[in-house]
Amino acid sequence: MSRTLRRRSTIAASLALVASLALSACGGSDSGSSAVPPSAGGGGDDALQEVYDNAPVAEAAALLSDSTMAAIRERGVLRVAAALDAPLLSQQDPSNPDDIQGFDIDLAKMLAIYIIGEPNIEVVPPASETREALLTNGTVDVVFNTYTITEERAEQISFAGPYFVSGLAVAVAADNEDIAGIDDLGGRTVIVGANTPAVTAVPEQQPTAEVVSFATDPQCVQALTQGRGDAYVQDYTLLAADAESNDGIKVVGQPFTEEAYGIGLPPNDPDFKDFVNDWLEQIYADGSWAAVFDATLGTVGDGSTPEPPAIGSVPGS
């Protein structure tokens, strides 16, 4: 009898333990990286610390009651869908997981400062095909993920911006001398990222190219260096950042399309969209956007700082 009792209480205890673990996870915040503490900027970017200190904060009047931004401020943290493994754009340092740096993620921190006053963000890394789902079901408030504005996507969600203009370019293995650009890709094996504009752009430009797709950018780079394809077509900034950190690949030719990045927003929320666009105007005007660019993407390439794009200039934005 006592053995049954003991066994029963063990089972009950373990059930209770699991239940409490699950309930604590139900509290919501265990999904991604923890919120960045206010004194963030661990990796030695004092230049950006200054930018954060001077970053604009929204007037209380701009946060209409019952609006998305008021809810975010109430919550105290901005939920962002951003990568953890994109060099110069949004990269997590595993030995210091709270420290995520890059162009996309720094802009997200500034948006958080604008709404809440502190760069409190919670990062949820999306798989490339789930960004729209994460916005429509409310898991994240915004998407900062080199998210190209397309009309198809604009049918499902809203975009603010564009906040950067880039284009698709071609990368090849560092020792490849045959391919100089998109025109040389006829009949070749071309690697593209799943659910990126390259999936449709490459067949359009080179119908005879064989297209192979992989889920994430690091996988595509890996496949290219291992010879699973002759070239990798992806957004120019991503390729430049990859080539910077990986000697095995190089970018050839110029961007052959024009892709505009936008901030992904939940659909049917014009107030939030106007709010975010206002913020973009402010950081374009006061130089913070340029400062963030110089500290991240500006470290590769020719060192010149581009002009921020005009908001709403792209169909779908």
Binding site: R7, L15, V18, A19, L21, A22, A25, C26, G28, D30, S31, G32, S33, A81, L84, D85, Q91, Q92, D93, P94, S95, N96, P97, V124, P125, P126, A127, T130, A133, L134, T136, N137, G138, T139, T216, P218, Q222, N246
Partner: protein
């Protein structure tokens, strides 16, 4: 020396047999060693065995990063195990029920979800549920599809256990005046569950491995953290080998723990041996028929 369980297949080897076995052993060892040496040489020739590729894994921050992922894996696995197990038992009982609509419903549920790939279920819920306004926290985006798939598997295992019991057990219960559900709860289920514990453990291990699909829903678990880490430090082989070893250890411990628990709670203490005739006064539970 303990005999392997299939030793009865052949006669005790005589001197010639023993010599042949010894030769075969030596040859096998040489072959295996040769294959391993070839692989190591291949790896070394590309610099994959260099110390500086492996020493990052001696640093605590990397392990802390991976262990947080492991915690996510274990948490998801535990939740799925409890919920899926409970649901599985209910489904099994439903499938064995005399009430026909209930039986059909449960049978349909089990047969459908046993033959759908888990990845497909995850995609279906990820993209389909928001259309109905259902927004789940990230943990539950992984747990719900896994629970449904594993509940169907658990249900079949439990049902096999229930069906393997001798009919006398249920009849004895009825003859004591118990109702059907009482018989199930007090007599049949405990014995059935004990009988199928090995299969349950196998399913548990499979479930833990399924949590690696958490990357699709952006749930922080071990394999996703390994991917991020490998993208950062570009040490793909080393990272994936280390993480594979972690899974091996965790699942191995799980299986070992489960078999130890099983040995302690099974009433027949005899190890697996040729069937001996039942002694008078022996307990009602025999060693389970597999």
């Amino acid at each position: 020396m303990r005999q392997p369980e299939t030793a009865h297949l052949y006669d005790e080897p005589g001197p010639r047999g023993r010599r042949r076995i010894r030769i075969a052993s030596v040859v096998s060892v040489l072959v295996f060693a040769g294959v391993v040496a070839l692989m190591l040489r291949q790896f070394a020739s590309r610099g994959q065995l260099d110390a500086d590729r492996w020493t990052p894994f001696l640093s605590w921050p990397i392990w802390e990063y991976l262990l947080v992922g492991l915690r996510g894996t274990l948490l998801a696995a535990a939740v799925v195990a409890v919920l899926g197990g409970a649901l599985g038992v209910l489904l099994a009982l439903g499938r064995l029920s005399p009430i026909r609509p209930l039986r059909w419903l449960c049978t349909g549920f089990i047969e459908v979800f046993r033959t759908l790939p888990v990845l497909l279920l995850i995609y279906l819920m990820l993209f389909g549920l928001p259309a109905y306004g259902i927004n789940l926290p990230v943990l539950w985006k992984l747990v719900v599809p896994l629970t449904i798939a594993n509940a169907a598997a658990f249900a079949e295992i439990v049902r096999a256990g229930v069906l393997s019991l001798p009919r006398g057990q249920t009849e004895a219960g009825y003859s004591l005046g118990m109702r059907r559900l009482q018989v199930m709860r007090a007599v049949v289920l405990p014995q059935a569950l004990r009988a199928v514990t090995p299969s349950l453990v196998v399913q548990l291990v499979s479930l833990l491995k399924d949590t690696s699909l958490g990357y699709v829903v952006a749930f922080t678990e071990l394999l996703y953290r390994a991917q991020v880490l490998s993208a950062y430090n570009r040490l793909l082989i080393q990272t994936f080998i280390v993480v594979t070893l972690v899974y091996l250890v965790v699942n191995g411990l799980l299986s070992a723990l489960a078999s130890r628990l099983r040995r302690r709670t099974t009433r027949t203490a005899a190890p697996i041996a040729p069937a001996t005739p039942a002694q008078p006064g022996a307990p009602a539970v025999e060693a389970p028929r597999v």
